[in-house]
Amino acid sequence: MHFLSLILINLRRHRLRALIGVAGIGFGVAAMLAILGVVNGAITMFEHILSTDSHYLVMEKNVSDLFFSSVKDDELAALRAQPGVASAHPLLFGIVSSPGYPVITCFGVEADDPRLAHAEWLAGQRDDFGRNPGEVFLGARAAEFLHAHLGDELPIGPIQLRVAGILKTENGFEDGGVFLPLRDAQAYFHRAGVSSVIAVQLSDRSTGARFKQAVESAQPRLIALENREFNQGYHSFRILQTTAWAVGLCAFLLGGLGVANTMLLSVFSRIREIAVLRVCGFSHRQVAVLIFGEAVVIAAAGLVLGFTLGAGVLALLPRLPQFQGYVRADVGPVVLAGIALTALLTAAGGALYPAWYAARIQPAEALRYE
């Protein structure tokens, strides 16, 4: 017989209790997986919006969010004039509303913007973008939830715009948003001559450091960040990720309490048995390992349950119309490893006191009252 048999026998003996522990960890894992998957998916989509065909992002320095960044037209022109710059595409972010949908992301872009070129045009033509005033172009998901078709008049905020095109992109944010020609967007948001961010592509990427330095010395109001730098440093991403981990950890805390409860009951219900193990030569450490082993098995089973549940939730969420296509799961190996580690640590944490208690059981005292 192996040590594992002793661990499993006790879990088998108190199946319901063990299952409650497994469920606690499982729900924690599922919650964390779902939250992190959705948040990381959102961040990845947002990163993709910014990094389409670009190496650097230029924006206003020290702004709390890109929505508040203002890069003026003359600064855009100066960027375009810089040696080594192959292209510089301005992007103005804004939020618009339509009846029943108070928050729709709006992208103000120029007609030659790469995201328009890469999109699949389901209705209308790319060449029409920005040709006529009073027109709006919809992402495919936005067209779906707004029930809009080519040529329809669509209320966007206080004005009516004609749907001049519907485009399908790979990006959930873009697909669930609306596109306006940059000038129209600037007028709509009362931000004439201003963009939120400029996506810059260099002729030679290796000249990036020089470009960055040139931007920051010539235009001290601005900052140029490589896409990777931006993603790592962007406050909103960090806040989102931290919040996701914090909420997930709260879920785990409940799971940990479940394990603690399961393990405590397990120890209290077999004090005599543990005393007998000690009489048979089990050391304090071996008894503690036995209890931790049970917790680890519960955590492992909880992980399997949680990953299965979480995967199911992540598969279901994008299909819910309420999410307007904004949800796309992105779960990498680091996140999976992080969740697995957290589950194991939570279970081990939950087993800490029960293991300590079990290891300190005095055989003589436990056996005295036969």
């Binding site: 048999s5 009489v279 048979c280 030569g281 005095q362 056996l367």
Partner: protein
């Protein structure tokens, strides 16, 4: 080869009290046990037999006095562990086997604690099971055994790691007369076969009389009879 008997237990002036010293259970107890001896601690319930056995097994420590078990000082934690793993075996009134484990699995527990190799453990448990007539019950769960069978398994478990001393606390106490007799004889036979000394607490005169030596335990004091 020397004929000097090997002393397994040397106890001098042991005192033990509980409840913050209010209840004195053992008073100035001294005794010696040699290898191969079968010694009875005979006395009524509550006379201090179990407490003395616990001290002799290193399960508890005396408040006063000197104690040496198999040449080791039980006040040292590492010694207590070594005693339980290699030098001592325990049999209790209730079998104290682990329910839901099979007979074979229960017998493996002491070997597992001492990290003994599986093959040797398996051979040993088969040998012991054969000696107590339980070979065909090795795969059975404890719940499926009778009281006498359980106690036989408990004796085998106590002997698994080849101890030098077996401490038995009323091993026949929960059995009917016939089963009690059987278990007691088995205990003695196995002890002789294995060369193990036995210290057995009992309140039954007939078993005490059948031992090599009988020590009377009364009001926490031990006297030879």
């Amino acid at each position: 080869m020397s004929d000097t008997p090997v002393q397994l237990i040397r106890a001098r002036g042991l005192w033990k009290a509980y409840d913050g010293g209010r209840v004195t259970v053992l008073r100035d107890v001294s005794l010696e046990v040699q290898a191969g001896e079968v010694v009875a601690l005979w006395g009524a319930s509550g006379s201090g037999k179990s407490t003395l056995l616990h001290l002799l097994g290193g399960l508890d420590l005396p408040d006063q006095g000197e104690l040496e078990i198999c040449g080791l000082d039980p006040r040292v934690e590492a010694n207590r562990l070594a005693l339980r793993r290699r030098h001592l075996g325990f049999v209790f009134q209730l079998h104290n086997l682990i329910p839901d484990l099979t007979v074979a699995e229960n017998l493996c527990v002491p070997a597992m604690a001492d990290g003994r190799p599986a093959r040797a453990t398996h051979a040993r448990l088969r040998d012991l099971a054969a000696a107590v007539g339980m070979t065909d019950r090795l795969g059975h769960r404890i719940q499926d055994l009778s009281g006498g069978e359980r106690q036989r398994v408990a004796i085998c478990r106590a002997l698994m790691n080849g101890p030098r001393l077996l401490l038995a606390d009323e091993p026949t106490g929960s059995l009917d007369e016939v089963s009690g007799e059987t278990v007691f004889n088995l205990l003695k036979d196995l002890a002789r076969r294995e060369g193990v000394a036995v210290v057995m607490a009992t309140h039954e005169r007939r078993f005490a009389d059948a031992c090599h030596r009988r020590l009377r335990v009364r009001d926490g004091k031990v006297s030879a009879e």
